[in-house]
Amino acid sequence: MSDAHLVWNEFRYQRRTFMRDPQAMFFAVGLPLLYVVIFVSLFGNQRIDFVVNSQPGPLKAHTIMLAGFVAIGVISATFFNLAVDLVQERESGILKRFRGTPLPTWTFIAGHVGTATILGAGVASALIALGRFAYGIPVPIGGLPAILLALVVSSASFCCLAFAFTLTVKKAGGAVPLGTGVTLALYFLSGNFFIVEHPPLILRIVGKLFPVQHLNNALLTPLNPNTSGTRIEWIDLLVIAAWGAGALLIAIRSFRWTPSDQR
């Protein structure tokens, strides 16, 4: 079997594993859809009278919310789900088991990353379609290439972050609470749930430092009907890519295949 075929094989089985896991399906697909339904239904029509992240106005809350929830969908699929899977597979000996076969490491990783990326893209598409057709949120056609680029860069970077994140968890049961805590804190600090006119300085610093707010912005610009041109936020994408590159270096140096109690 060629390496390309092996990657396809891994992708196929990992996708099947995911589809049969209701908990993973809920966190990755159900929850972001639920966020859109709840938040957009309640607050979506509010007009935002202040400037958000230097975006040209006027903006309705639903556009900002859609960008934020697409970001959450991508992060859930590529970071949260992947990190939880990897930790649980490592601690239960499954990663070690695969390590003992002739399967090249990169094909195993590519299978995982491919599954997470396709899932992220699927969730993002579903959220945008839900926003557009169920709530009438405008989705400028000219912004689609910029959205696609943001999805590609963020999926790759958050997958790398997932591999690095596994180093911080030593028990299978620790991945979900720690991953939930980290992502929820970042969503709140990055404005995914609430739009605040004058956030405190600390929130602005944290928001700028971590990649979530940058992803929100890289998705908001192409969704904003008041923007024009390529709508690509290069600086935001660069920050996200830098986080991904840093995580990749850490993962290459320190990623563990064996359970914590066997080292």
């Binding site: 079997m1 075929h5 092996l6 094989n9 089985y13 099947r16 594993t17 049969r20 896991d21 597979e89 239960s92 000996g93 499954i94 070690k96 088991r97 390590r99 003992g100 076969t101 002739p102 399967l103 090249p104 064996t258």
Partner: protein
């Protein structure tokens, strides 16, 4: 007929070249040491395992069995000494080498959502010449449950699935780390049947176990590791001088016979124990004297047994009574 060219047997085996090389040593360990931090857990292990051998590595908890096996499997990098498995240093495993090794870890969960067939088929895809999935499931006794999800299998069935995943690549060497720990007696005997089947296929098998009954039933050879050292190495019949060890003669005392009438021995003679008499540390002379006495007095020896120490007795003696 041409003369075969001279080759380094190790290289030949690694490349799977010659038939001659295939009869050579499969596992070769010389002066193996392993440290975890400042603690040395293996102190100069030497051993060699030939192709087709079923070798049991036994020893108490913490003796270093799993460390030793994981070094052979390529999971751990040794501190010192020389190790080759199929002619290659396992600390630098290659894809070709991995395709000739089958591993069953001491503990490993299965991806619960996939079925028995899917998991074995997935693993089959990793190997250049896999065994057919249906045949592999037949071999481990899971052919009646191909569509069962791994998470729904019993512990014994999961272990058999684990063995199937190790076997589907048709490996030359199979490492089984405590393959039946936690099994009930019925599941253990089923697992033994699987391993016996593998032996008949000519596979080289290295297994670790806590059960001497298992080592005796399966292994051609038993290696006892205690505190990181090999303290005995032999067949189950000869381990620790078991074949030369004094025997115990035991029988029911015939009616109307007194113990004092039995032939005496230089090691103390017979001792009455309820309705039996026993002589420990007996040798061949004692047995001959007893049989001669029987003939002379035309007496039977009901329930006569002559037993060497069991493998478990020898093991306990070698390990100082530690399991």
């Amino acid at each position: 007929m041409g003369v075969p060219a001279q080759t380094n047997p190790a290289e030949a085996v690694a490349d799977g070249d010659t038939a001659d090389a295939r009869t050579s040593t499969v596992v070769d360990v010389k002066g193996l040491t392993m440290h975890y931090g400042d603690i040395e857990v293996l102190h100069g292990i030497d051993l060699a395992i030939a192709r087709g051998d079923v070798c049991a590595i036994v020893g108490p908890n913490g003796a270093g069995k799993t460390t030793l096996v994981e070094i052979l499997e390529g999971y751990r990098t040794r501190t010192g000494g020389a190790v080759t498995v199929l002619g290659l240093d396992p600390s630098h495993p290659t894809r070709a080498w991995r395709s000739r090794i089958g591993i069953v870890l001491q503990s490993c969960e299965m991806p619960a959502a996939l079925t028995v067939w899917e998991l074995v088929e997935r693993f089959a895809g990793y190997y250049p010449q896999p065994r057919p999935v249906a045949e592999t499931l037949e071999l481990v006794g899971l052919s009646d449950r191909p569509n069962a999800r791994a998470g729904t299998l019993s512990g014994g069935q999961q272990r058999r699935l684990d063995v199937a995943m190790a076997l589907v690549g048709d490996p030359d060497v199979l490492f089984l780390d405590e393959p039946t720990t936690g099994f009930d007696p019925s599941a253990r005997h089923q697992a033994w049947d699987v391993i016996t089947g593998l032996r008949e296929l000519g596979k080289t098998i290295v297994l670790t176990t806590h059960y001497m009954e298992e080592a005796e039933a399966l292994a051609d050879r038993v290696i006892v590791v205690v505190a990181g050292r090999v303290v005995a190495d032999g067949t189950p019949e000869t381990l620790g001088g078991r074949d030369h060890a004094p025997s115990t003669i035991r029988f029911r005392l015939p009616e109307g016979v007194n113990v004092a009438q039995l032939p005496s021995s230089h090691n103390g003679g017979f001792v009455a124990d309820r309705d039996h008499v026993t002589m420990t540390n007996a040798d061949l002379d004692d047995l001959e004297a007893l049989i001669a006495w029987c003939r002379e007095n035309t007496r039977p020896l009901p329930g006569l047994t002559v037993e060497r120490p069991s493998l478990e007795d020898v093991y306990l003696e070698l390990t100082g009574g530690v399991r």
